[in-house]
Amino acid sequence: MLPRFSLYLWVISLLLAFGAGAGVSHAQTRIQGTVLDAEKNALPFARIQLVEPHLFMGTNEKGEFSYTLPPDQTYTQVTVVAGFVGKKEMRQVVSLVRNQTATVSFVLEDNNLYLNEVEINALRVHTTNSNSSIVIGQNAIEQIQPYSLSDILLNLLPGQTILNPDLQSAKAINLRSVSTGNHALNNQFGTSIVLDGEALSNNANLQTAFSGKSGLLGQINAGSYGSGDYTFSSVDLRQIPASNIEKIEVIQGVASAKYGDMGSGAIIIDRKAGVSPWNISARIQNGTNNFSLDKGFALGPKAGALNVSLDYLDAAPSTTNKLKSYSRVSTGVLWTTYLNKARTVSSNFGVDFSTNLDDWKNEPDDPTRKVKAENSNVRVSYRGSWRAENARLFDQLTYSFSYSNTRQYSYESWYLNQGVKPAPISAEEGVFEGIYTYPNYQAETAIYGNPVRWSGSLNAVRTAQTGPVRHAISFGLNYSRETNRTRGEDTDPYRPRWSSTSDRFYGRDYDFYHTPVLNNVGVYLEDRISTTLWGREWSTSLGLRGDKQFQYFSLSPRLSTTLELTPTLMLNAAYGLATKSPGLVHLQPKPIYHDFPLINHYTNNYRENLFLVYTAVIVPDNSALQAMKTQHLEMGLSYRKQLFNVSLTGFHKRTSGGFDANKKVRLVDVPQYHIIEARPDERPIYGPTGNHLEGFGFYSQFANALSSKDYGLELMVGTAKIRALQTSFNLSTSLYYSEATNPSLEVAEPTEWQYEKKALVGVFTNPHSSGLESITTVSSSHHISRLGLLVNLRTQIFWDKWTRNSANNIYPVAYYDINGQYYTIPEAEQTSPEYAHLVKDESAAGMLHQKRIYSNYHLKLSKEVRNVFRLSFYANNFLNYRPEYYDTKARERRILNQAPAFGMEVRLTLK
């Protein structure tokens, strides 16, 4: 099948070559080269990137590649980058002479500590994806000894605090902001994680028991460890193993128009592909064991390479802790090959499978409480590119397709002994008889989820030249369809998890079969223009993206530009708009029940017991929810010399329309009932009294309600390796300031109902919160390449951190009276004693203030042994520096910095 397909393509390209232009000149400008490894063996399927023409290609079985430039191209020099899995990337600038062939050869060294220069820090790089990308290479990832993606990002991104690895709850990352609560959740929800070209989306996650009435979002917590569910946030970062990641690019600023469905940033992950030796590693820390292995098999000169990876993780908070654990198994197979002899059509086909189990119980033997979060996922993805020589519309076409099916199961079991309680069971509106729960029982909550995602994208690049200006036009479209149609929440009304008087009580089954389908379509057009301006290199990227997310259409312009002021100083600026689609959890029309008890007659005789209740149902229509919009303005300067480089970036980010549940109230006309006659051994006769009562039903509905502003400065300084010291330094300082608010009004349920007052239910503005954080990280790496030894000391200095909630929202701005009439209170009267009973408790205004500057010190050590064996060790807070201070407001002693944590890694590389 394969040879025939390549023959077909060969014929097509031949025809195109003939048809494309008359007068094809036989003298052509060509680039050709070879890629060899350190032992001078050929490297087949090496990745070759021609930067200026925006092309990718691969080497053949002899390690050779060649490219003929189209006649209209007038490059005088082309940067060629050669890369291979497990080897250090090399780039060379090749001068071109018209109608001649330029030759370049690469010898790629193994990427280990014997290299002269090893980069173990994150670097600020201007890439095609954004002006201020943070690129994390293979060595930096390995040096962290990470158990998951979360460890890599916390250790290496500027502005993040280095924390001991914690795998006991779902992890996410907050990019460029100091926000908390639902603002932080939205920031995480808007962080797109792209794995091998396709996004891992969390849009269809419905694992929550949100009742619609409580302010809490309804996720199941595993005791004090937090939740294993990550419904309103990004994909759980601890589920992504780090062992087969080759490179990570983090976009915190303005992304290229190619990326959609994101808000605060994107994390682009490339996994290892291609022929590679056996890599077997074991990472151990107190309570955590992580084993991984990967290998890239060469399948023959034409069939390409097959990468197999396997990662097993088993983590508990400590070796003696028998109550909490998290285990993860992930395995994947990736087949990379070229479909034609000319190697113009590449093909990557991968199947990944992973399963995660987060488990907690409150006692080792005979526990009364258990929480489980299970998650298993199958993902099939196909990615390819077609380099079309002499095509009219595009120079290279890349396409990808992926299907992902996840099974989620969140479970909580709690032995409850709370006595007989009345419980409503009707799912319809009206007066119905309820039931009485068992007095003591095992309460179980189970949520079954099945997010399924189909997605595909098509992208094309076409280079063109208009005079002195070179254009690289890329355009494309992407489509995704996400559903979650399965059992949902099952509940047994006789054994409810919450008492029916709690606002977290739901009490009815809710299946996901009626949740909507989330369709997202996006198209984009981007032109990367490069030219010279007064002799200075100037490149600009102008992009426009259109997205139809669910039922809402938006346009996102993305502009970024860089200007080379001097050969060493570069100025860059960017402005862009990004939109994040709402998730199924925000859109789903989940009914909300308000139950008003009418008769509670319990005589402990099942023939006589009667619980009569009036149930009111509201189904919120969230279909009009729009996407969350983020506007980002960024400017930066970078200065690059041989010995050191400095980059300073400032940004202003504005998010509006973030998803939050707004508290509202509805009035329910509740008919009053009474018992007319109580009969022995029979249900009593009951009937309406004829009176009606106005019942208040408080509920929460999702809306585009959050807005925030983030400002920040990031300074990154890196030095080359200072020969005399064999050490290189890297400093990154960040200063972030955030303000966040929910401009809508919220209705507060009174704690004590004072029916004699006119103003019964108060309406308030939401608190306005602000925060600031400033951290400096100094990383010094002492690297002796002859020994293959690297010692890295990371110092973090915490200059300041504070968060503040404004207090001025304790006075009501409006109220409802007993008939449900809404009245606004003019500002001058808001503090009057007439409304004093509605005033909220003053302690709602909160402030957290770091009183002193303190620091933390972390040490990492790695030693290579003969190219086969690597031994690594890390110690966080290795000096055990834990300063204490007395918090006068809370009257408590507080300790800064976590306790020290140690771990080690052993890695074998077998060819």
Binding site: N440, T603, N604
Partner: protein, 422 residues
């Protein structure tokens, strides 16, 4: 031949015949009809106004010998000093107790009965007392948690008492974890109520009053709920048989894992029902509900570890209109500030101070006059234990409980709470 000799008759004025009679002195049924020994009995001849006294012997009989016939008043008046009365009945009293009995206009002659019975009666002695408090609750997993709490009130007097209108509740005091500025506290660590906003009585606020965290009143018209001497009433949080609280549709009974740990309160006399705030608050239609004057929490919940003090308050129409004050650390009164009833100490019929244990003591909530000591359950919260007053004396089934106003001496722990039991 009849001799009509009305001769000089002998002056046959009735000879003052000496008679003897005995008087048996007994106590009333409230004291088990016990015979009273060593009691002075007075027989007053109404004609001659001569009083004769005799003392009853060991079997309660006072023998009067050779008294002239006539009409007599027989009376007994015996004063017991508090110490004597305590020894007699086990009941602590403040004042002398006077026992009286009188038989008036009793004709004593040769033909009349020679045995009189006098039944001694005193002015009412004793009062309602708190007999048993079950605050600990039963095991959180195997029992009924805190739902089976109850308080039992016992009629320690010799009269029928009526529960109608009697109040009781938990006394407010400073808890262990609340952090309060020392300037609002007395030396012993308790709130200094003299500093409360609006307090005008100075330091008497601490010695002469108690402040109610919760206040309940027993309903009734006045004579609806009698309590016989020696009997008690049980006031339950939930009047339910906690040993078998549920029957499902099929008739299957669902019990707690270990029903022996809890109690059957379906026969309770009164119940606390707050409405639908606490879902497990059951309203047994057969049991009358308390009147809720001031509530704390979602149901009548006693502190499980035992950090409450309980008082029983006499029936008084002014209870609901007693003044209310905030805790001393509140500098302003807003609508959210809780105000507590201030009850005068002389309205308190009985009081018990409970602590968590002998090592974990909180500042005393009750003045020494009400309760000089404290009591606790050794096994702590959720242990099914209760505290119960010791029995001082039993008179033919009428139990008199020890009440010396010192619960360290008066109370003992009971391994399994036993409503209406001992």
């Amino acid at each position: 031949m009849p001799l009509l000799f009305l001769a000089c008759e002998e002056d046959d004025s009735p000879l003052v015949q000496p008679v003897s009679f005995e008087v048996v002195v007994k106590y009333s049924s409230t004291y088990g009809n016990q015979t009273a020994s060593n009691i002075k009995v007075k027989a007053l001849n109404l004609d001659s106004k001569i009083a004769t006294e005799a003392t009853t012997n060991a079997i309660g009989v006072a023998n009067f010998e050779n008294l002239p016939v006539g009409v007599y008043d027989i009376s007994v008046s015996q004063t017991y000093s508090p110490a004597q009365f305590l020894e007699f009945s086990g009941q602590t009293v403040e004042n002398d107790v006077v026992f009286n009995a009188t038989l008036t206009n009793q004709t004593i002659n040769v033909a009349a009965t020679k045995r009189f019975e006098l039944e001694l009666a005193s002015s009412p002695v004793g009062n309602l007392v708190i007999k048993q408090v079950y605050f600990a609750g039963s095991d959180a997993k195997d029992g009924a948690l805190f739902r089976d709490q109850f308080i039992e009130i016992h009629n320690n007097s010799d009269q029928v008492q009526y529960a109608d209108g009697i109040c009781f509740g938990q006394v407010l005091g400073k808890g262990g974890t609340v952090k309060v500025d020392p300037m609002y506290l007395q030396e012993n660590g308790q709130y200094d109520w003299s500093k409360s906003l609006g307090m005008t009585v100075g330091n008497r606020a601490n010695t002469d009053f108690v402040y109610m965290e919760s206040l309940f009143q027993i309903p009734g018209t006045g004579t609806q709920y009698p309590i016989q001497p020696g009997q008690s009433i049980v006031i339950a949080q939930n009047a339910l048989n906690h040993k078998a609280p549920y029957q499902d549709q099929a008739g299957k009974t669902i019990t707690p894992i270990n029903p022996d740990l809890t109690v059957d309160l379906s026969g309770a006399d009164f119940e606390a029902f707050y409405g639908s705030t606490q879902a497990s608050d059951i309203n047994n239609p057969a049991v009358p509900n308390l009147i809720l004057l001031h509530t704390y929490g979602k149901d009548m919940l006693f502190d499980n570890p035992g950090r409450d003090a309980y008082v029983l308050i006499k029936k008084d129409p002014g209870v609901a209109s007693l003044p209310k004050f905030p805790t001393p650390d509140k500098t302003t009164i807003t609508s959210a500030t809780t105000l507590y009833y201030q009850v005068p100490v002389d309205w308190v019929l009985d009081a018990v101070e409970v602590q968590e244990s002998s090592t974990k003591l909180l500042p005393k909530k009750l003045p020494n006059a009400l309760d000089a000591g404290y009591t606790y359950v050794p096994l702590g919260k959720y242990s099914s234990q209760s505290v119960i007053r010791k029995v001082a004396k039993t008179f033919n089934g009428r139990v008199i409980l020890q009440d010396t106003n010192n619960s360290t001496n008066d109370f003992r722990p009971l391994d399994r709470a036993n409503p209406k039991g001992f």
